[in-house]
C-alpha cells in the first residue's frame, strides 16, 4: 500500500511548479538567462574588446570573422552588442531597485497609517502621474549630465509610482485583516507589524510589479541613450547604437537592426516572465 502524503510545497515551490508549466514564460526565462550569461562573461564571449578599432575593416556586413559586421571605425559589432547587454540589464535591475526603495516604503506608510500620511503620499503620486515621465527623465539627465549612475537615478526616481500604488492598495486591505489585528492586539510595534506581517503578504504583487517594471526601465534607458542623454560613448548601449546608425540605415541596415532586435528580445523576455510570474503567484487569476 502506498502512503499518501499531503503536498507540502509552500507558496514558492507551488509558484515555481505553476511557472514551469507555462512554456512561453520558461522559454523567455531561458533567453534572459542566456543574455545575462553573455553580459556577465562578456570579456570571454566577445571576440574583441568593444572599443578595439580597426580602420581597415570598417563598414563590414556580417561574415564568419565578424558575425554582426563592423561599424564605422571597424569595431567588431558582435562584441559591442554583447557589452551592450551589460548596460541594459544593469539599468533594468538597479533602476527598478531604486524605484522599489522609494515606492515600497511610501506605499506601505500611506496604506498603513492612512489619514494625513496617505493624503501627502497620494498628492505626490498625483503630481508624478500627471508629469510627463520621459520629459522629467530628460530634464534630470540634462541637469546631472549623461552617464550610467545618472541614468539609474533618473529612471529610478521617475518610475516608482506604480509600485507605490500597488503596495498602498495591498496594505489598505491587509490592515483590516484578522492576522494584522491579532498582531496589533499582542502589542506588536508599527515597524514589526509592517515588516514581519504585512510585507511578506504583499510580496507577490511587488515581485510581479518588479518583473513588469524591468522592461520599462530598459526601454527608458534605450530611449534616453537614443536621444544622446544616456550612456557615454565609447561604452556601448543598444539605444545609443541604434541612434548613431540611424542616418545610415539605408545602406548599412544591419547596424541599426541588431541592437533593435536585442532591445525587443530583452523586453519581450522580461514581459513574458512577468506574465508567467503573475499567473504563478496569483492562482486566483485563472480560476
Amino acid at each position: 500500500m502506498t502512503e499518501i502524503t499531503p503536498y507540502d510545497g509552500g507558496l514558492w515551490r507551488d509558484a515555481l511548479r505553476r511557472f514551469t508549466k507555462n512554456k512561453l514564460s520558461v522559454a523567455a526565462a531561458i533567453i534572459i538567462i542566456v543574455i545575462s550569461f553573455m553580459a556577465v562573461f562578456a570579456p570571454w564571449v566577445s571576440p574583441s574588446h568593444y572599443s578595439e578599432a580597426n580602420f581597415d575593416e570598417a563598414w563590414q556586413f556580417p561574415s564568419w570573422t565578424h558575425p554582426m559586421g563592423t561599424d564605422s571605425i571597424g569595431r567588431d559589432y558582435f562584441s559591442r552588442i554583447v557589452y551592450g547587454a551589460r548596460i541594459s540589464l544593469i539599468v533594468g535591475f538597479v533602476a527598478q531597485m531604486i524605484s522599489l526603495l522609494i515606492g515600497v516604503p511610501l506605499g506601505a506608510i500611506a496604506g498603513f497609517k492612512g489619514g494625513k500620511a496617505d493624503y501627502i503620499v497620494m498628492r505626490l503620486v498625483d503630481v508624478m502621474s500627471v508629469f510627463p515621465s520621459l520629459l522629467f527623465a530628460i530634464l534630470i539627465m540634462a541637469w546631472l549630465g549623461s552617464g550610467l549612475s545618472n541614468v539609474l537615478f533618473a529612471i529610478g526616481v521617475t518610475g516608482w509610482v506604480g509600485v507605490c500604488r500597488l503596495v498602498r492598495a495591498q496594505f489598505l486591505s491587509l490592515r483590516a485583516s484578522d492576522f494584522v489585528r491579532a498582531a496589533r492586539s499582542m502589542g506588536a510595534s508599527n515597524v514589526h507589524t509592517i515588516v514581519r506581517h504585512m510585507l511578506p503578504n504583499a510580496l507577490s504583487p511587488i515581485i510581479v510589479g518588479l518583473a513588469m517594471g524591468i522592461p520599462q526601465a530598459i526601454f527608458a534607458e534605450a530611449g534616453l541613450s537614443f536621444l544622446g542623454l544616456g550612456i557615454n560613448p565609447p561604452t556601448p548601449s543598444w539605444g545609443q547604437m541604434v541612434s548613431s546608425h540611424l542616418p545610415n540605415v539605408i545602406y548599412y541596415w544591419h547596424l541599426a537592426l541588431f541592437p533593435v532586435f536585442m532591445i525587443a528580445l530583452v523586453m519581450l523576455g522580461f514581459s513574458l516572465i512577468g506574465d508567467g510570474l503573475r499567473d504563478a503567484l496569483d492562482p486566483r487569476m485563472n480560476e
Binding site: V130, L134, L139, A142, W143, V242
Partner: protein, 310 residues
C-alpha cells in the same frame, strides 16, 4: 456631486501648481543658459540686453511669478528656438500634425484591434487566436522606435515601396500610423477578446440562442454591444499620450509635429517652451483623470461619499 467636482478641480489645480514649480526649478538647475557663448557669440552688452528683454536677469522667484502671472492670461512667452513667433503660435502650428497622426493611429488601433479581438474570440484556441496573441504580445512589448526602424529597413530600403520619412501625402502616413497604432491595437485586441468570451458565457446569450436566433445575430447584436462598452474606459488614459505625439516616432520619420520639441527645447534651454509643453501634457492627463473620476462618481455614489467627505 457638485461639492465632489469642486474638490477634485481644486486638487488638480494644486497638483498643476506643484508640477510648474518642479519643472521651473529643474530646468533652471540644468547648467548653461539659452544665450551662452557657444550658441551665439555676442558681446557682453548685447547679451545683457537680451537677458533683460526676456527677464532672465531677474531673481528666479520673480521670473517664476511673472511667468505664472502671464500664463494665467494665456501668454506663454516667446520660444527661444524660434523667436519670430509666440509659444502659442508654435504649438498651434505643430500640434495639429501630431493630433492628425494620433487620431489616425487611434482609429486604426480601435478598428483593427476590435476586429482581431472578435476573430480570436469566436475562433478561440485556433491558429487565428494564437496569431492574434503573438501580434498583441509583440505590440505591447516591442518599443515603438524598434518597430519604426524595422519597418524602414523592410519597406523603405529592402522593398523600396514607401518613403523613409517626411510628412506629405498619404504614402508618408502609412508607416508612422501603423507604428503608432500597434501598441494601443494590441491592448484593444486583448481587451475585446476577453470581454467577448466573458459575455458569451452570460445567461442572456443562452436566452438569445434558446429563442432561436442565428449565431451571427447573437454575436453582433447582443454580445458585441455589451462587450465594447468597457473599451471606452481604456480609451481615456491613451488619449493624452496619443494626442501630444511621440518624440521617437516623429523623430525617426522626420514628422514636423509637437514631439520633437520635447527634446530640442531642453537642449536649447528654451525655458518658455519647456514650461508650456509640461503644462500642456500635465493638463491633458489631469483632465482625463478628472473626467474618468467624475464619471465613476456618477455611476458609483460610494466614491464621492468617501473621497468628498474628507
Amino acid at each position: 456631486m457638485f461639492r465632489y467636482i469642486v474638490y477634485r478641480i481644486v486638487g488638480l489645480v494644486g497638483v498643476l501648481f506643484l508640477v510648474t514649480v518642479i519643472t521651473f526649478s529643474l530646468m533652471h538647475a540644468v547648467p548653461g543658459g539659452p544665450f551662452d557663448e557657444e550658441k551665439m557669440p555676442l558681446s557682453a552688452e548685447a547679451k545683457a540686453n537680451i537677458l533683460r528683454k526676456y527677464g532672465l536677469d531677474r531673481p528666479l522667484y520673480e521670473q517664476y511669478g511673472r511667468y505664472m502671472w502671464n500664463a494665467l492670461q494665456f501668454d506663454f512667452g516667446i520660444p527661444f528656438q524660434s523667436p519670430g513667433e509666440t509659444v502659442t503660435d508654435l504649438i498651434a502650428r505643430t500640434w495639429p500634425i501630431s493630433m492628425q497622426l494620433g487620431g489616425m493611429g487611434l482609429a486604426v488601433a480601435f478598428s483593427f484591434g476590435i476586429l482581431l479581438g472578435i476573430l480570436s474570440a469566436i475562433r478561440q484556441n485556433t491558429w487565428v487566436d494564437y496569431g492574434t496573441t503573438v501580434i498583441a504580445t509583440l505590440g505591447i512589448t516591442v518599443p515603438s522606435f524598434a518597430i519604426s526602424i524595422l519597418f524602414i529597413v523592410l519597406f523603405a530600403t529592402i522593398w523600396r515601396v514607401l518613403p523613409t520619412g517626411g510628412w506629405g501625402g498619404p504614402e508618408t502616413w502609412i508607416m508612422p500610423v501603423i507604428v503608432y497604432a500597434l501598441g494601443p491595437m494590441a491592448i484593444v485586441a486583448r481587451y475585446t477578446r476577453s470581454s467577448i468570451l466573458e459575455n458569451l458565457r452570460m445567461d442572456y446569450v443562452r436566452t438569445a440562442r434558446a429563442k432561436g436566433l442565428k449565431e451571427r445575430s447573437v454575436l453582433f447584436i447582443h454580445v458585441l454591444k455589451n462587450s465594447l462598452i468597457p473599451l471606452l474606459t481604456i480609451m481615456g488614459p491613451m488619449l493624452p499620450g496619443v494626442m501630444t505625439g511621440s518624440l521617437f516616432v516623429e523623430g525617426i520619420f522626420r514628422i514636423p509635429g509637437l514631439g520633437q520639441f520635447f527634446v530640442t527645447s531642453i537642449f536649447e534651454r528654451d525655458y518658455p517652451m519647456i514650461m508650456a509643453l509640461t503644462l500642456l501634457v500635465a493638463v491633458l492627463i489631469g483632465i482625463v483623470y478628472l473626467i474618468t473620476d467624475i464619471l465613476y462618481a456618477l455611476v458609483d455614489p460610494r466614491v464621492r461619499y468617501v473621497r468628498g467627505s474628507k
